[in-house]
């Protein structure tokens, strides 16, 4: 009797396992729109850190998404963005409106995953987006992959996310390795502008955690490709109360260019030590983090001048790209703050999703997946400094890139790419004693 039960249980388990992949979400809860019969609303799931330490970023992301949805649904034809000239909603789906259902990851990978499952299985969302932190995006997109629903990620930059051979994962933002490559493209461009003044030797100062070590790895990798010499890498502990020996090593390396990956407290300490010991570089190129923290310029003060850091977005892009100013003005009038890299990228992600659903003419995940692969949004129609949006076989947007901003007069000023620069680059940075 017992053996019989065990066999039954085994059969049930095997059957369940067989059925699972076959039962496409489209076949179950998500009605494929037959010709002429379209849903009134298309639901998109968004999982973000809406509470916890990252809640302020969560608000930025949500604002970006809300504004994108509002623009698409109302069809503001005075904005040159995808779909907006179609009279509101998704034209190919009979003017169906977008609806974003938000879920809170609280910054927790496990919660991000379970919330994604819930949105897909009980709210029947057609596409998922999220989740800001790479670690949460990793688990949330895993759930989407298993349930075979497209996951469009707009703002996580870990290179590992597109190295997983996922078929349902698409990422519109550039990743950290592309940002590292940007450093050398920037230096090459700077060398054209300041001939003979841009050295080909760099030294790297980085935290010894995952972020810092990754930056070190990618910078070394691309230095070789662009024929720059990395004279040394100085890793330091995040909790170091003093950075004298680190800075002395930088000085001893005699490299004219410093590439730095630091958080706020250590970046502040490093700059103070550089100044006190009169260690000078032609240029300091930072990998965002501490250098783009809202407290960086207030805390470091005048000594922050001329530092360069990569960014994903800056509001002065609007001086060269009218759509950026137009959207940012609307954003500010609604939410009281300027857009930032998070809200601008989340905003862009919604347009990627809406454009794909519209071209799919359906909310069938397979058709949306197919449409995402064909995505080709031109540069003028996005608020990002990218050359456009087009996904490769890994699901990575190959046309993305970062920008370089320089602190001039206490503000971040876009100086690269040159065609988007709002002010000219100042190079080399003046020595400490000559300021």
């Amino acid at each position: 009797m017992r053996a019989w039960l065990a066999h039954l249980a085994a059969v049930v388990v095997i059957a369940a396992a067989c059925v699972q992949p076959g039962a496409s979400p489209a076949g179950e809860g998500q009605p494929t729109a037959a010709a002429g019969v379209f849903p009134k609303e298309v639901a998109i799931g968004a999982v973000y850190p809406l509470t916890g330490a990252l809640a302020p970023t969560g608000v930025d992301l949500k604002n970006g998404i809300d504004l994108a949805v509002e623009l698409i649904n109302s069809g503001r034809s005075d904005f040159d963005l995808p779909l907006l000239k179609d009279g509101g909603g998704l034209r190919n789906l009979g003017g169906a409106k977008l609806k974003v259902i938000f879920a809170d990851s609280a910054g927790d990978p496990a919660k991000g995953q379970s919330e994604t499952e819930r949105l897909i299985t009980s709210d029947k969302v057609a596409v998922m987006t999220g989740a800001f932190q790479s670690a949460v995006t990793a688990t949330a997109s895993q759930a989407a992959e298993r349930l075979q629903v497209p996951f469009v990620n707009a703002e996580s930059s870990s290179p590992t996310l597109v190295a997983r051979d996922f078929k349902w994962f698409f990422r519109s933002t550039p990743d950290d390795s592309m940002f590292a490559e940007n450093f050398f493209q920037f230096l090459d461009d700077a060398a054209k502008r300041f001939p003979g003044q841009v050295a080909k030797k760099v030294v790297i100062l980085h935290t010894d955690d995952l972020f810092g070590s990754d930056v070190n790895k990618f910078v070394r990798q691309f230095a070789e490709k662009y024929t720059y010499e990395v004279v040394g890498s100085v890793g330091y502990k995040l909790t170091a109360p003093d950075l004298t020996s680190e800075i002395q090593r930088l000085k001893a390396s005699a490299a004219p260019i410093l590439i730095e990956a630091s958080y706020l407290a250590d970046a502040t300490l490093a700059i103070r030590t550089l100044k006190q010991q009169d260690v000078n570089f032609q240029g300091v190129l930072a990998m965002d983090a501490g250098f783009v923290d809202t407290k960086f310029i207030p805390n470091v003060g005048k000594d922050a001048e001329y530092m360069l850091t990569r960014e994903v977005w800056a509001k002065d892009l609007g001086t060269r790209k009218p759509i950026v100013k137009q959207v940012n003005d609307l954003f500010r009038s609604k939410y009281g703050t300027d857009m930032n890299g998070s809200s601008a990228r989340a905003f862009t992600g919604i347009f990627v999703i809406a454009d794909a659903i519209n071209r799919a003419r359906s909310i069938d995940p397979v058709k949306i997946q197919e449409a995402l692969k064909q995505t080709n949004i031109p540069a003028p129609q996005i608020v990002m400094p990218w050359d456009g949006i087009q996904f490769d076989a890994r699901g990575q947007n190959t046309k993305g890139r970062g920008i370089m901003v320089q602190i001039q007069g206490g503000e971040y000023v876009t100086v690269w790419p040159l065609e988007l620069a709002s002010k000219p680059l100042i190079w080399p940075m003046p020595e400490w004693t000559k300021r």
């Binding site: 109360p241 020996s245 002395q248 407290a265 006190q276 009169d278 407290k295 207030p298 003060g301």
Partner: protein, 286 residues
């Protein structure tokens, strides 16, 4: 050579600050055999006190220093009366948990009230740097180190030259005997907390001149303070001074010789070696 001189000099400056903050820890241990695990968080509170004195009242951190020392000293007494005295009769474990929990509470409250933002005191009286031969020294660090020397000197004078200091040392040596001599040991305990926390306040006020201030800043200095105390010998203020400078110099020089990411490993190794050869620490009593 130039580089070595520079790193050693910076190491000494850092070491003096470490020593001062460790002195407070070791004093409390010496007098009443309690390790204050919230030590680093006391430091954090002191730094915030300096910051707000500067941001709200416009007081230069150096001028605010006496106030910060007094405030932290008072806070030490409050902690002693409110948290430590009730658990004195409990097990050693209860005492450890009490200060450990206090530390977590302080950190949490700081994050809630002050937010997780990094703060920095802007230009102060001690801004800039100067050169001694090839060695560049930051004025803030130098003044902080000098301040640490002065406060440590005062602490020595208090312990060595005054009746109260003698009573404190007597309590540390043999509590029962001290009580028999008519010393109110409970008052001595409160005093140890006041002076110990006051030392941390002084270290905090001096650090605040140049170090960023955030709720977790205690973690940066807390662990180093424990190692300093253990290396110098539990309960020995002189040992803490010696060990502080030693750790400052060793970490700096190690950062030059090895990968800087491992510079603290060398300091901890040194501590382990001393522990094996001389378990009571450099100047501790066996």
């Amino acid at each position: 050579m130039e580089i070595v001189a520079q790193t050693v000099a910076s190491g000494v400056l850092l070491g003096l600050i470490l020593a001062l903050s460790a002195a407070g820890l070791t004093l409390i241990w010496g007098v009443m055999d309690i390790v204050n695990f919230a030590h680093g968080d006391f430091l954090m509170l002191g730094m915030y006190a300096s910051f707000f004195a500067w941001a709200v009242l416009g007081l230069d951190p150096l001028l605010a220093l006496p106030g910060v020392v007094a405030a932290l000293g008072l806070f030490g007494v409050v902690v002693y009366l409110g948290v430590i005295r009730p658990v004195l009769r409990g097990s050693v474990l209860a005492q450890i948990f009490a200060t450990f929990g206090l530390g977590i509470l302080l950190r949490g409250v700081a994050q809630f009230v002050f937010t997780a933002d990094y703060r920095q005191i802007g230009d102060t009286m001690a801004t800039g740097s100067f050169a001694v031969g090839p060695v560049h020294l930051g004025l803030p660090q130098t003044i902080a180190a000098l301040g640490a020397l002065i406060v440590s000197g005062l602490l020595f004078a208090l312990l060595d030259r005054t009746t109260v200091g003698t009573a404190l040392r007597a309590t540390a040596e043999d509590r029962r005997a001290a009580e028999l001599m008519g010393i109110d040991t409970r008052r001595m305990f409160a005093l140890a907390w006041a002076v110990g926390a006051g030392c941390v306040g002084a270290a905090a006020g001096l650090l605040a001149i140049y170090f960023p201030i955030f709720p977790d800043v205690g973690a940066v200095f807390g662990l180093l303070a424990f190692v300093t105390v253990a290396l110098g010998g539990f309960g020995s203020v002189g040992g803490a001074m010696l060990a502080g400078v030693l750790i400052g110099v060793v970490t700096s020089v190690a950062g030059l010789i090895f990968d800087p990411a491992y510079k603290f490993t060398v300091a901890y190794l040194l501590y382990l070696v001393v522990l094996v050869i001389r378990p009571q620490g450099l100047l501790g009593r066996a």
